[in-house]
């Protein structure tokens, strides 16, 4: 009997390796109509070939394992960064269940969002009644200070008009006239989750800042995170600004919402950017966005509608962080404090300590455009060589920017940018042109399994490792975190490859 020791109960990780289950698997084959193991091995080998790679890259219609999600996911991540804000997704209800599950699996935190639960009749008549009832119900039950509305593709395909629906819902007393209900159209067949973030931030800012423009600036700097899934990054930005005595507003600050203390009491809306601070952001000196491609429209809006300067700064790696601090210093006239110089020195020290293990290492990576640029900045700094760069939600501007970055370093010369490609393309790349390390989200584990390329989990989502999202990838400390993950993955891999007694353990070194 497989489960024969009550003091050593075996779950799936061990149970199914017991003889009786192995027998069961073997016996089940009789009914499966599967292929012979020879055939499977043959095809498996073929998928590793250049011939397969060419077929794979000739695909025009099929997407397999893409590294991107759809707009409303980003929209609601933006929304929960504001004080007591409830994301309201207008359209079919299943999407919201998916978004909430997705974020909750990554952050291991509650994530509240509601749906207008449109069904067949709404598909025919439009979803205005759902909006009217949905706003009233969510306003009464969950007592938000703001409801941020975005759309699913269903509502977009039938052409629901959010502006009209919301004003009609207000006229029907669903929510008070003065209650903020910003909105954004977030069709999932345009762009990706980062586009949705951009649209929602723009929607929220244009709603909250309407009529708030003053004669003079408020002396503050606005920060916009972008589709940021590292809580540590938001905290690090705030710490830096505080250390420099900079007056700032971090917009869409979801760091508390997505990492709230356990006090024994559940709060639906922890933290968030105060609505009045967000409203006053129109009067700031300037806006710094930490991601370019998740804030494209928002920055354009700030420049044109607010006549405010915007900058993009990615404080990843040593130089990325340097540039951010110098930019902040230039904008505010505040000096960069000694403390940060010391932090920088410690980070540089760490990089030099480990450089030998990273120099010339071939790296494949994938993720959102801004994440990838930040990582490439870091990799080039330590002498690692990005080889395969896959960005499913790419665009021409991004590719130009990344190309320029790669061209700026001797370590970027062998890199190829694969815009609009997916993780099945990457699989072919890893088989035909192997690398030392893969950087990506949890879905990279399938590539790790198939190609044996060790995986460093950086990005979103990370479902199969705990707490990585609590760390920073920004700033000097973030550089140490990136270094730690990367170098120790390489060293772990080295140990794994030198662990067989009297066979490979010659190099099973104590000191590395």
């Amino acid at each position: 009997m497989a489960q024969n020791n009550v003091n050593d109960i075996q779950d799936h990780a061990r149970l199914f390796h017991q003889d009786e289950y192995q027998e069961l698997f073997k016996a089940k084959k009789e009914f499966e109509g599967g292929h012979s193991s020879e055939e499977v091995a043959k095809i498996a080998d073929w998928t590793k070939s250049w011939e397969y790679r060419e077929k794979n890259f000739a695909r025009e219609a099929l997407t397999v394992n893409p590294a991107k999600a759809c707009q409303p996911l980003g929209a609601i991540l933006a929304a929960v960064g504001f004080e007591a804000t409830l994301p309201f997704v207008h359209g079919s209800q299943g999407c919201v269940a998916y978004f909430r599950s997705h974020f909750t699996r990554h952050f291991k935190e509650p994530f509240s969002a509601v749906s207008s639960s449109m069904t067949e009749d709404a598909a025919v008549f439009g979803g205005q009644l759902n909006m009217i009832e949905g706003l009233a119900t969510s306003y009464n039950l969950y007592k938000p200070k703001m409801i941020a509305v975005c759309t699913t593709c269903m509502a977009e395909v039938i052409g629901d008009d959010l502006q009209a629906f919301i004003s009609n819902a207000k006229a029907a007393n669903s929510v008070p006239q003065t209650f903020p209900v910003p909105y954004a159209h977030t069709p999932s067949f345009v762009g990706s989750h980062i586009t949705g973030y951009d649209n929602m931030i723009k929607g929220i800012l244009s709603n909250l800042t309407a009529g708030k423009k003053q004669e003079t600036t408020n002396g503050k700097i606005n920060f916009i995170p972008g589709f940021e899934t590292y809580i540590g990054n938001l905290r690090e930005i705030k710490r830096y600004a505080d250390l420099m005595d900079v007056n700032y507003t971090l917009l869409a600050d979801n760091s508390e919402y997505l990492d709230s203390p356990n006090t024994g009491e559940y709060q639906m809306y922890p933290g968030g950017t105060k609505l009045e601070d967000a409203a006053d952001s129109i009067n700031a000196e300037a806006t710094i966005a930490f991601q370019s491609y998740a804030t494209t429209k928002t920055r354009e809006y700030i420049e044109t509608e607010w006549s405010q300067k915007t900058y993009v700064s990615r404080p990843v790696g040593i130089r990325g962080t340097d540039e951010f601090l110098m930019k902040l210093s230039a904008l505010t006239g505040k000096p960069i404090p000694k403390e940060l110089e010391e932090e920088r020195g410690r980070a540089v020290d760490a990089l030099t300590d480990s450089q030998a293990w990273l120099h010339g290492k071939r790296i494949a990576l994938y993720g959102d455009p801004d994440l990838v640029i930040g990582l490439v900045q870091f990799l080039l700094e330590v002498g690692a060589e990005p080889i395969h760069i896959v960005v499913s939600n790419s665009n021409a501007n991004f590719e130009g920017e990344l190309r320029a970055l790669l061209d700026s370093s001797p370590f970027g010369q062998n890199a190829t940018i694969w815009g609009g490609k997916d993780l099945w393309h990457l699989r072919s790349l890893l088989f035909t042109e192997p690398v030392d390390l893969l950087i990506g989200n949890s879905y990279g584990k399938y590539l790790w399994r198939d190609t044996k390329t060790p995986l460093v989990r950086i990005g979103y989502p990370i479902f199969d490792r705990h707490h990585l999202h609590r760390y920073s990838t920004y700033g000097y400390q973030g550089a140490i975190n990136l270094l730690n993950w990367i170098v120790n993955t390489l060293l772990d891999e080295l140990d794994r490859n030198t662990i067989i007694p009297s066979k490979t353990d010659i190099s099973y070194d104590l000191i590395r």
Partner: protein, 503 residues
Amino acid sequence: MTPPESATLTPPTATTPVNDIPETKALIKEVLEAYPDKAKKKREKHLNVFEEGKSDCGVKSNIKSVPGSMTTRGCAYAGSKGVVWGPIKDMIHISHGPVGCGYYSWSGRRNYYIGTTGIDSFGTMQFTSDFQERDIVFGGDKKLLKLITELDELFPLNRGVSIQSECPIGLIGDDIEAVAKKAAKEIGKTVVPVRCEGFRGVSQSLGHHIANDAVRDWVFPQFDKKKKQGDVPEGTPYDVAIIGDYNIGGDAWSSRILLEEIGLRVVAQWSGDGTLTEMINTPSVKLNLVHCYRSMNYISRHMEEAYGIPWLEYNFFGPTQIAASLREIASKFDETIQAKAEEVIAKYQAQTDAVIAKYGPRLTGKTVALMVGGLRPRHVVPAFHDLGMKLVGTGYEFGHNDDYKRTTHYIENGTLIYDDVSAYEFEAFVKELKPDLIASGIKEKYVFQKMALPFRQMHSWDYSGPYHGYDGFAIFARDMDLALNSPTWSLIGTPWNKVEVAA
């Protein structure tokens, strides 16, 4: 024949209700106060207290969710692709439409399978047509046909394709049935179009139904054809199929092992670790064994009507129900099987006793509030009972009236019932009833853990499992104990802010 009801629990002899009935009814009333009038009227039909002797739980179900209420429900696509079709391992399931749905449902459900992923199995992969604006404007049929030929070239060992429609498909008037027929000819394989757009119906539930119908219309004709040609093997008198086990954490395997031990021949698993061949051959079985009634009763009824195959609901949660189910199943066969069933029950007795001896004392008297999908709000209750735990509340995300009828056999007088519960209601109920353990889904998990309440996910087994069968029950017991008796709960709250009890 009328399908037999699941084996019933011996009703509790004491009629002391688990909750004070008038008080709990007052609680429902109080919780409803927060709703605007229109929503209140709708919601009050979905909340009640079970009173002994009633034929159902006194709630309405399978009705549209209230907009803005924060339902936990999903959609038809989730029911079809995510639940029913997705686990069929040797077919490629295309998430047809924009990129999101396929992304969010990618590897989310832990439907375990044996196979080489990307070569002869495709369970943890995501295939999508990744609709762009032009596809919405010009329609996606051409793209769909093209991508099916592309995937057949890149994944030649696939046994077939299913097209899982996302919302836009039905709205833009695409003809996926025509594409399916054409593509099936081109690649010489089964291509199944499924109209499971997310806006259809009120929850996952219609998606299950639509997925079942797609099997009926696009898979079974192949059995019929084989039968006509005399290509269907006779089989044995002991041929059965497992229907409605998605092999989460390996559940179907820890169930199958028992069915095989009592001498039955399991021809097919629907759909965890299942294959298209298994599906096609199912109409040759002598009896369909249905675990998840909610998601697979449709095809079971169809097989009964079309092929005369009887079906039987069974429950492999906890030793009491496992034994009752094994006996019930065996009773449909000859004495050999019946004798073997007794042997198997006896064989596992020591294992079960040891589990209950170890964990019973640590769990007995603890109370549970459940809220799961379409089966487990009743099915897992006996497993809790086997450990001496008590159920104070239960409800379905997407159950129907027949589920609430079946629930009466499982629950005690005074149990709070909530159908399609909203986040607001669930939180309010839990605050009042103060269960020791909440057993629900990922979206609820951290809400309650923030309230310092032990929690176990009852959709995914919290990444553990299997929970089905005798081997699964041991894990179930272990997991309930580690959730309830974790020292971490006692760390919540600072020692310096704890209120001093005045002497």
